[in-house]
């Protein structure tokens, strides 16, 4: 049961982008189309799973003082491996579109965050499931953002025109400011759903750190959270 939870928590309850708010750089930068989002998500999942397993195996012997550099070396190794593999086997358009962001998985906070917060304290099986769940949660969010952005800007999904009359691109959703707005709307939606569920179950809803309603008085959601505003 707890093994299943290790896997599923990444998909919703501790979704890396929408709840932990980690890894926003790739989320904003490469999700201009659904294909790019999916490719980036899967590459990150590979790195997360592999680094989580290796780190949970070696965590017992790594000296505390140099654990972060050691983790980074492990992560960087897997990032280089996925970079080489994608260069060799993925469609060239995808590799060109993701470009530098593949290498930048090294500095993605999700990967190091999971290594430090989970893999170094749990056994390889649980770490594997945690990495897989977090990775897939990340992939789902990126793909969803990509689908929304691609659809709003060109009327297509996965590069297939869904609305055939849509010939002129709408630029805002495909640019970085549009990405901010869309991810913001997704975050707000996630907060709203979690809040409603918490209210229904009679619990106190604690929003993600720094994302509560203390500083904002536009709507009355904040009054339902825990009365902090």
């Amino acid at each position: 049961m707890s093994l299943l939870k290790d896997f599923t928590k990444g998909l919703w309850k501790e979704n890396p982008v929408l709840v932990l708010v980690l890894g926003t750089c790739p989320t904003l930068a490469v999700t201009s189309s659904a294909t790019n989002g999916l490719g980036m998500g899967l590459a990150t999942t590979f790195v997360l799973v592999c680094s989580n397993v290796v780190i949970s195996i070696i965590a017992g012997i790594v000296p505390k003082k140099i654990r972060i550099p050691v983790y980074i070396v492990v992560i960087a190794t897997f990032v280089t491996i996925i970079d080489l593999l994608m260069k060799a086997y993925s469609p060239p358009e995808l590799y060109n579109a993701l470009g530098i962001f593949i290498s930048l998985i090294v500095v993605n906070c999700i990967v190091l965050g999971r290594a430090e917060a989970f893999a170094s304290k749990n056994n390889p099986v649980r770490s594997f499931l945690d990495g897989l769940g977090m990775g897939l949660g990340f992939t789902l969010t990126l793909t969803m953002t990509g689908i929304i952005r691609e659809f709003l800007s060109t009327g297509s999904m996965f590069e297939v025109k869904v609305i055939t009359g849509w010939t002129v691109d709408f630029l805002l959703p495909s640019s970085a400011p549009g990405a901010f707005i869309i991810v913001g709307v997704l975050l707000a939606g996630m907060n709203y759903l979690n809040l409603r569920r918490a209210v229904k179950q009679g619990k106190v809803y604690v929003p993600p750190q720094g994302m509560d309603c203390r500083h904002c008085h536009i709507c009355d959601f904040g009054d339902k959270t825990d009365g902090r505003n």
Binding site: S32, G60, I61, V62, P63, K64, K65, I66, P69, V70, V73, V74, A76, T77, T80, I81, L84, L85, K87, A88, Y89, P92, N96, G99, S153, T154, E159, V160, K161, V162, T164, D169, F170, L171, S174, S175
Partner: protein
């Protein structure tokens, strides 16, 4: 003293070095493993692009190359296409650093007489929706045509308003300009910088051919 709690600098250094060594070995192995597929993928991409811009050929243009300088001193690599031992066309590969977001790389197919045949942009990072309109040759798939077989003939490339207007022209002395700068070529509204860069790129490749014609033809096996 346990390894985990140690603060001995030498031990820490050695430990990190060992981890680095293991990582380096693993990477060396993977790198060796993927070297051949990566080379094959790159070769494949070049061949596909060459097939699009060149007239039908029966040699290996990717192995029949010469590099010359364009009027601005940048390298242009020419690929020669032969058919029955005769030169039927060239493809020039060059780049222009004046794109809106970094360099634009292109492949320009030339007829045997030096007039432009097909222009293909092979690498760019222009603004999606503006600059990419100038650079992309993409067949638009819709949900209605998704499962239908394509009725395009082999070798035909999807149209592009900007890239197609260079076809059939020869590069004379004066550089080509977009109409905004007093030239004769159309540009994409909202992507003037990209249009300028692409126009300059095509001209410099075609011009490089004109200037080095004798050398290029001799090296790529014409008149043999």
């Amino acid at each position: 003293m346990k390894l985990k709690e140690t603060e001995n600098t030498v031990v820490l250094g050695v430990f990190l070095a060992v981890i680095g060594l293991v990582a380096a070995l693993a990477l060396a192995y993977i790198s060796q493993l993927t070297a051949a597929p990566i080379a094959a993928a790159e070769q494949n991409a070049t061949n596909q692009a060459l097939q699009k811009v060149l007239p039908p050929f029966d040699n290996q243009p990717s192995a029949n190359t010469i590099t010359v300088k364009d009027p601005d001193g940048r390298d242009v690599t020419f690929y020669g296409a032969l058919r029955d031992g005769k030169l039927v066309g060239f493809a020039g590969k060059g780049s222009n650093p004046q794109g809106y977001a970094g360099a634009i790389e292109g492949l320009v197919g030339l007829e045997a007489d030096g007039s432009v045949r097909t222009v293909l942009i092979t690498r760019q990072s222009e603004t999606p929706g503006l600059g990419t309109v100038v650079c992309d040759r993409k067949e638009v798939k819709t949900i209605f045509t998704l499962f239908k077989p394509s009725d395009k003939k082999d070798g035909a490339v999807p149209a592009n308003r900007i890239l197609d207007q260079f076809a059939g022209r020869k590069a004379m002395e004066s550089p080509w300009r977009v109409s905004k700068d007093g030239g004769e070529f159309e540009f994409q509204t909202g992507a003037t910088v990209t249009s300028r860069a692409v126009t300059a790129l095509v001209w410099s490749i075609a011009r490089a051919f004109e200037q080095n014609r004798a050398a290029v033809e001799a090296a790529l096996g014409g008149n043999k």
